[in-house]
């Protein structure tokens, strides 16, 4: 398992990304920035911390893609289960980090940031089985979609946005768990067909 962890660059990539996430959540706090929306001409307040999950999600994509393809495709060990465990571990760590920051500093958005890691990871996994590495665009495009069309005015974010919802928002938590569950299911069962080079 040590070799599998090293192959996945768990220490050099995932741990660093979680560190960046922790620092981002602590530093960005509840700072907002006015960003332009497509639905109205004016700018809407968007939390800086919405982008904090992206380094973790990108690092997960890098990690999962760091595979000894030929051996893992014919392995007797359950590598996909190990990968699923890795994903769950990273998500759980992100949630724990968010909870700890909330307890220590009272930051109201910390737990939500952990939840957003879960949601965007699930989204990544769902798209990844179909397009491979470029799937990293999906979480990024989701953040942009939230910025561009997520604010319906009157101080309300649309129900589908998930990311800007407060920590205790039940539908958002449910959406995150659902996304991760579906993503893990797809990851565990769907195999991408990649044609070999001509020979």
């Amino acid at each position: 398992m040590r070799w599998w962890l090293r192959a996945r660059r768990a220490l050099s990539v995932l741990l660093v990304a979680l560190g960046v996430f922790t620092a981002a959540v602590m530093v960005l706090g509840d700072a907002t920035v006015e960003l332009p929306s497509l639905l109205s001409g004016s700018a809407n307040p968007v939390l800086f911390v919405l982008m904090a999950p992206i380094p973790v999600v990108a690092a997960l994509e890098l990690s999962l893609g760091s595979r000894l393809v030929e051996a893992e495709e014919t392995a007797t060990r359950r590598v996909r289960a190990l990968d699923s465990g890795l994903v769950i571990g990273v998500c759980a760590t992100a949630l724990a980090v968010g909870g700890a920051i909330h307890l220590l500093t009272g930051n109201e958005h910390a737990v939500a940031s952990g939840r957003n890691v879960v949601f965007l990871t699930g989204l990544l996994l769902c798209v990844r089985v179909f397009v491979g590495q470029p799937a990293i665009a999906a979480p990024v495009l989701w953040v942009f979609a939230v910025i561009f069309v997520g604010y319906s005015g009157g101080g309300h974010w649309a129900f589908w946005t998930v990311l800007p919802k407060p920590s205790g928002d039940a539908p958002a938590a449910l959406a995150a768990m659902l996304a991760l569950t579906i993503g893990l299911l797809l990851h565990g069962t769907v195999r991408r067909t990649v044609a070999p080079s001509i020979t």
Partner: protein, 244 residues
Amino acid sequence: MTLQLRACTYAYRPWARPVLSGLDYRLPPGVTVLLGPNGAGKSTLLRLAAGVTRPRAGSVSLDDLPSQARAYRGAVAWMPQHITAMTALTAREQVAYTGWLKGMNRADAWTASATALARVDLADEADTRARRLSGGQLRRVGVAAALVHGARVLLLDEPTAGMDPRQRRVFRDVLATLTDEVTVLLSTHDVADLAEESDHVTVLEAGRIRYTGSTEGFLSHAPADAVAGRRAEAAYTALSETTA
């Protein structure tokens, strides 16, 4: 143990032309060389035999074991055309990791990795990062990874590509030391080098078997005036012209 493909059809996309169509193939014991032009389906056949992909129709089995069974994967080793060079692993770690993935425990995999690298004359590079190895060295890592867990069936895709003559000699010596219980199927473009040192030859063309049989039978297709040492090449050319 006999590896068999029954009526296998495979296409990389549902709407694409099948690479293999209704292929029946029984891998004979010993060393079999798989020949064929580019695009014939050699890599596809090896991938099906390795259990990496499933046929759209038909079946692949090792005796009674279907290709998706864990025991099947434990008995079969696959070396693809392109060997991944892991960023974070040394040559020995990469080989040991393969052994671990094939069910070996950590200690056995670590010990076996050293032995496997020594067999392919790469012991000196055991602690070199896989990323820093040359193409030929990486292919030897691939061969070592195929040997590490003592598989009963070795499926090797272009194992000698990028190797110099000395390294190819080492590889042939490795083949020679394999016991009678190990079946090898290797694809190659090195007709002259390997065909005459194998037990069987299979020629694949456009997804169909053009010839499968003993090496002597294959070589008998060479014209009488074929130059000694190039009979395999001549036999292959003659077979291709016959079917064209």
